[in-house]
C-alpha cells in the first residue's frame, strides 16, 4: 500500500451528472495510475476553518495527470466544493487506505452500487474488465435520473442491471433484491461480491451474500478526522475470532470483508 502524499490539485473540469451530483476532474503533478480501486483522497479547501476538516472522496477514475471524483452534495463541504470554479486549487492527500482485492483467477464478480457509492466502484469495474473477470454490475438509484456511470460502464462492455426506488427504470425496488436474484441464478462457482452504498443497503447485501456463501468486500464511508490513522476517529467494530476490535476505516479500510463488519453501529 503506497503511503499518501499531499499535493495541490487544480480543478480542470466540473459537470453536474445528476441532480446534486458532480463529476470533477483534478489535475496534479503526481501520476494517479498507481491508485488501487477503492483508495481515497482527503480533500481540503485551503485556508478555511469552516468546514474545518478535510473531506474523503474515493478516486473515481484516474488519468496520467490526475484523477476524477464523483460526489453528491450533502452538506457544507460538498456544497462548497460544488461551487468551486474550474481553475481553483484544492489540496489532496492521496492515495489513502487500501483497495479492493481482485478475485482469484477463474472467479466471476458482482458489483453492487447504491447511489453515489458507484464512485467507489467504477475503477474496480474497469480493473475487473481489464482482467477479463466475468462481471455484472447492479446499480440502485432513487430514480432513472440518478443512475450514475451508466455510459462509462456500458463502454466497458460490462452488463448493467438497474433497480430504482420509484420504478422509473429497471427493477422497482431495492438493488439487494436484484442481487439475491442474480446470485441465485448464478450456476457456476460462487461469484465475488463488491459493494458500496448507504449502510442499510450494505448491511442487507451482506446478509444476502453471506446466506449464499459469496465472499463480499464492502467499502465503508465513515466520518474522518485525519485520514492518516492517527486520530482514531473513523473506527468500525470488526469481529475477530471471539473478540470485537475497532479498526480504522482510513488505514485498515475503507474496504473490509463484509462478514466481519459489525453493522449495528452508527456512522
Amino acid at each position: 500500500m503506497p503511503t499518501g502524499r499531499d499535493t495541490e490539485a487544480r480543478i480542470v473540469a466540473k459537470r453536474e451528472v445528476a441532480p446534486n451530483h458532480f463529476e470533477m476532474r483534478l489535475a496534479c503533478d503526481a501520476p494517479a495510475t498507481e491508485v488501487e480501486p477503492g483508495q481515497f483522497l482527503h480533500l481540503w479547501l485551503p485556508e478555511r476553518v469552516d468546514p474545518l476538516l478535510r473531506r474523503p472522496y474515493t478516486v473515481y477514475r484516474t488519468h496520467d495527470d490526475g484523477f476524477d471524483i464523483l460526489f453528491q452534495v450533502v452538506g457544507r463541504g460538498s456544497g462548497l466544493l460544488a461551487q468551486c470554479d474550474v481553475g481553483a486549487t484544492v489540496r489532496v492527500a492521496w492515495p489513502l487506505g487500501g483497495g479492493f482485492a481482485l478475485p482469484p483467477d477463474g472467479s466471476t464478480a458482482i458489483v453492487v452500487g447504491g447511489g453515489v457509492g458507484m464512485a467507489s466502484l467504477y475503477l474496480l469495474i474497469e480493473r475487473l474488465a481489464r482482467a477479463h473477470v466475468p462481471t455484472q454490475v447492479l446499480l440502485g438509484a432513487r430514480s432513472r435520473d440518478y443512475v450514475l456511470c451508466r455510459s462509462e460502464i456500458e463502454a466497458l462492455g460490462v452488463p448493467l442491471h438497474i433497480a430504482t426506488d420509484d420504478g422509473s427504470e429497471g427493477h422497482h425496488g431495492f438493488v439487494t433484491e436484484l442481487a439475491a436474484t442474480v446470485l441465485d441464478e448464478t450456476e457456476t462457482n460462487t461469484p465475488h461480491v463488491y459493494a458500496c452504498g448507504p449502510t442499510p443497503m450494505m448491511q442487507a447485501l451482506t446478509k444476502v451474500a453471506t446466506e449464499r456463501d459469496a465472499p463480499t468486500q464492502v467499502a465503508l464511508e465513515n466520518r474522518m478526522g485525519c485520514g492518516l490513522g492517527v486520530c482514531l476517529g473513523c473506527v468500525v467494530p470488526i469481529r475477530a475470532d471471539e473478540d470485537v476490535s475497532y479498526k480504522r476505516v482510513c488505514v485498515e479500510g475503507p474496504v473490509f470483508d463484509a462478514r466481519v463488519v459489525i453493522w449495528e453501529y452508527r456512522v
Binding site: 476553518v49 474545518l52 476538516l53 492517527v230 473513523c234 452508527r266
Partner: protein
C-alpha cells in the same frame, strides 16, 4: 542567528514546536509530511497500563471552526508502546513527551515507574483532563486536592521532567496550576479539550455515541490563550500552550501570552505540514523582529 531553543522543566528542545497528544499518532504516520528531526518534541497519544479499545463510534463530529472527539483513550497499552512504538522514534533527533492516563493514582505511578529510565523517553505528561472516559483522569483535573496528591505521587515515581496537562473545564485553572507547582511538577500543558456536545437535529441523536466530547480546534483558541496568560502570571512553571494552533501567528499568540513551547493538535489533521510551517514561520518572525531568543518574546503581552 535566532535561538529558538527552550528548556521545559529539564527537557531541552531545539525549538518550541511540539505535537499535541492524540493528534500525531506515534510519529511514523506523519513521516511522509514532517521531518521529525525539525520538531522540538513529539507529544504522544495517551498510554494506559492495559490496552484500551476506546469508545463506540461515532467518535468525532465537526462543529464551527472546531471538532468534537470522544476517542476514549484507545491505545495499545504501556507494554506494546515500549516494545512496538517507541523504537521508531529513537532514530530521530527530537524529544518525546509521553502522555499518561489512568483511573487511579496507582495507575499513573505504575506508568511513571515503567517509563523512568526508559531510553527514548524525555518527559512525561500527565493527562488529568480526558473528558471522554468515565475514569479518564478528568476527576483529578477538576479537584485540586486529588490533583495535588496525584502529582506528588508521580513526582516520587520518576526523575523525568513531569508535565501536567490541565483541563479547561474548571472555574480556576490558576488554582490547579498552583497545586501542580507545589506538588513538584516541572511544567504545565494548557489546554486539553473543552467539554462540548452536538446534536443532529434530523435524527435527534447526539453526534457522538457518548453524547459529550472534547472540543478542539481554532474555535477554542481564545480560551486557551486566556488560560496560558492567567497561569503565566500566577506560577513560574514553564507552559506548553495548545488549543487551535494552525498558523505561525497562532503559535506566537501563545508565546506572547506566556507559553515556553506550543503544540499543534487538530491542525495536523487538516494540514499535516502545519508543524513545519510553524517552525519556518517562527524563524522568520524572530528574524524580522530581531528578537534574539524565545525568552525575549515570552509573556510580553501588553494589556491596556
Amino acid at each position: 542567528m535566532t535561538d529558538l531553543s527552550v528548556n521545559i522543566g529539564g527537557m531541552s528542545l531545539k525549538n518550541p514546536v511540539m505535537t499535541a497528544s492524540g493528534t500525531f499518532g506515534y510519529g511514523s504516520e506523519y513521516a511522509e509530511f514532517v521531518d521529525l528531526n525539525r520538531l522540538g518534541a513529539v507529544g504522544l497519544k495517551s498510554i494506559t497500563v492495559e490496552p484500551r479499545e476506546g469508545n463506540a463510534p461515532p467518535r468525532i463530529a465537526e462543529t464551527e471552526a472546531g471538532m468534537l472527539n470522544s476517542i476514549g483513550l484507545q491505545n495499545v497499552g504501556i507494554d506494546a508502546f515500549i516494545s512496538d512504538k517507541l523504537p521508531y522514534l529513537k532514530q530521530f533527533d527530537t524529544r518525546t513527551l509521553v502522555n499518561l492516563s489512568g483511573r487511579t493514582v496507582a495507575d499513573y505511578v505504575e506508568l511513571c515507574g515503567r517509563l523512568d529510565g526508559t531510553e527514548g523517553v524525555h518527559g512525561l505528561e500527565l493527562n488529568v483532563s480526558c473528558p471522554n472516559v468515565d475514569s479518564g483522569g478528568m476527576e483529578f483535573g477538576v479537584d485540586a486536592s486529588m490533583l495535588g496528591a496525584l502529582v506528588e505521587a508521580c513526582r516520587g515515581a520518576t526523575t523525568l521532567p513531569l508535565i501536567v496537562k490541565l483541563s479547561p473545564n474548571v472555574t480556576s485553572v490558576v488554582d490547579m496550576a498552583r497545586v501542580c507547582e507545589s506538588a513538584g511538577a516541572d511544567g504545565i500543558s494548557l489546554i486539553n479539550t473543552l467539554l462540548g456536545m452536538a446534536i443532529n437535529v434530523e435524527t435527534r441523536r447526539a453526534e457522538l455515541s457518548r453524547g459529550m466530547g472534547g472540543l478542539s480546534g481554532p474555535a477554542l483558541k481564545p480560551v486557551a490563550v486566556r488560560m496560558v496568560w492567567q497561569v503565566y502570571n500566577a506560577v513560574s512553571l514553564p507552559i506548553i500552550g495548545m488549543g487551535g494552533i494552525s498558523t505561525t501567528e497562532d503559535a506566537l499568540e501563545f508565546i506572547i501570552a506566556g507559553a515556553s513551547a506550543i503544540a499543534v493538535g487538530t491542525a495536523n489533521f487538516v494540514n499535516p505540514r502545519t508543524t513545519m510551517e510553524v517552525v519556518d514561520g517562527l524563524e522568520s518572525y524572530f528574524r524580522r523582529h530581531e528578537i534574539p531568543n524565545l525568552a525575549a518574546l515570552r509573556g510580553t503581552c501588553i494589556v491596556g
